[in-house]
């Protein structure tokens, strides 16, 4: 089985703090990590390979520093990695991101593409389905487990808000994975050593069959008009209430709400 995993390097948003004076994100010192949903995709690919054999390729579009992440992924047992990197790709929205990724994917043969459901920085969950559409292959998003594969159909479970659906999708297909679907196996010494001997290919804009008007900021139909952080207005903070007074205040509001 030939599997391609889409991976994005993201800032660890749980470590992010807001500058209270300027209302901006403080990025300094925030570690870059493999997007959590993509980590699940890597593990899903590794366990499919354990069962059915094949090769796994990790692909990322991003700045050159993403090479470090791809090396780490090679150290986790992925066979080869590709980094799409070019100043022209910068500022892409999800349409331009998926168009660029799809332009490279069209030159490859694969049975399955695994994307994360959502990246924890952009948070759109759009790139997976948009890549599938650009490639004209079926998709299953919100995958919570993979059951089996008979070579033509992949059986998996998809999470809805309140149900789960067991379904089969015909390969080649794209699925998007939830970070909760598995637990990563960590690195083993053999793969970690091999990471630097495995192929990591750099792909530039000129290597792709795409007009410049389709990539990066210029190729993006959406634009970010403004960015702001939530203003943390000081609440009416009661610091010196006795437990009795606090209880009375809370009871009053509860009763008012009940009776309204």
């Amino acid at each position: 089985m030939n599997i391609i995993v889409l991976v994005k390097q993201v800032p660890d948003t749980t470590e992010m703090k807001i500058d209270p004076i300027h209302g901006t994100l403080i990025r300094a010192g925030v570690p870059s990590i493999i997007n959590p949903d993509d980590m699940a995709g890597i593990e899903a690919a590794l366990s499919l390979k354990d069962r059915y054999g094949g090769t796994i390729t990790a692909v990322s579009m991003g700045p050159l520093q993403a090479e470090r992440m791809l090396r780490e992924i090679l150290g986790r047992g992925v066979d080869q990695a590709v980094l799409l990197s070019d100043a022209k790709f910068a500022g892409a929205d999800t349409w331009a991101t998926s168009t660029t990724l799809a332009a490279w994917l069209k030159t490859q043969t694969f049975d399955l593409i695994i994307a994360g459901r959502q990246a924890i920085d952009g948070d759109t969950a759009q790139v997976g389905p948009q890549v599938a559409e650009k490639l004209g292959i079926p998709q299953v998003s919100y995958v919570e487990s993979i059951e089996a594969c008979d070579g033509t159909w992949l059986r998996l479970s998809k999470a809805y808000e309140e149900d789960s659906e067991l379904l089969e999708v015909k390969l080649p297909a794209l699925i998007t994975t939830l970070s909760t679907m598995n637990r990563d196996r960590g690195m083993n010494a053999v793969d970690a050593w091999a990471a630097y001997d495995k192929p990591l290919t750099l792909v530039r804009f000129s290597d792709l069959d795409l007009p410049e008007s389709d990539v990066g900021l210029k190729g993006s139909p959406t634009q970010v008009r403004k960015i702001f952080t939530r203003s943390l207005e000081a609440a009416s903070l009661k610091t010196d209430l006795s437990p009795e007074d606090a209880a009375r205040l809370i009871t009053d509001v509860l009763i008012k709400t009940m009776e309204a």
Binding site: W95, P138, V140, Y160, V224, A247
Partner: protein
Amino acid sequence: METKDILVFIEQRDNVIQSVSYELLSEARKLVKQIKHVKFEVVGILLGSNLGQLPHDVLNHGADRVYVADHPELAHYSTLRYTHVISELVKQHKPDAFLIGASVIGRDLAPRIAARLDTGLTADATKIEINPNEENTSELWITRPAFGGNLFGTIVCPNHRPQMATIRPQVLDADFFQANRPGIILNLPYKPMEDSVRILKRTKKHNTGPDITHANILVSGGRGMLNCFDLLDEVAVLTGGVVAASRGVVDKGAAPKDIQVGQTGKTVRPRLYLACGISGAVQHTAGMDKSETIIAINSDPQAPIFGVATIGIVGDARAILPLVIENLKAYKQKHS
């Protein structure tokens, strides 16, 4: 006069229209009211099988027109079939904007359609306005949280149509309703098509308690309340409320996942959210900061939960809640 449309995807599951679709119809009505230079209409698109009265419900909730594709193959959501039918409609009728609920289905469908139509899509938005800086415009400014709720971005789609967005459920009000509202129902042809996905089985996730997304009062506990959720239960029972929890508690196995509030849990919007022993991480507040009133009890005066609270009480929730329970019992006795 030229007419333009705001198209709304009407999501049905088992022939029940999802509330987010009604929220979007109400919002679309508010938007078209603000656009003066051209005539704007609100248009629904509804796919399913044996839909019966449902198209009329769509009109009553604010659509001027509704397109209906009714066929057994459309009974359940299918990415490929729904994308096909809706994309063809959009290509033919060229709506100016297209709104879709940011449900699991909406977030599967919308990006697929946007990619097919080569237009821009704003994800999981919480606010829609008409560009406030220009006159005679129907350009939408759509605001959405990103970076795990740490940051908000206002997104525009200046040169492509339709301007598409998925909108988070429970954020906008579904306040438009008019019984027997006149309007046009148009049936779309549907030719059967092969699907590359086949559904084998659907299973309801075990649902332990009442739904936290529909409660008036949520009594919510964080790690500061571990081992004393019985206090929260009691407050909930006495007030007709429902117990909710932070992920800190769910991860400890002390509460079921379906009562988790937040980014990876549920978005809630009760009349009153009582947050006890919850620190207020952005991933938590992203799911509850739209609540009408928020009371937070936390022993740490620096806890970020106070940043979203209407009333913040610095104190020990384990000491305060038993007194609240006493007060409520006394009140009930007096009024029964």
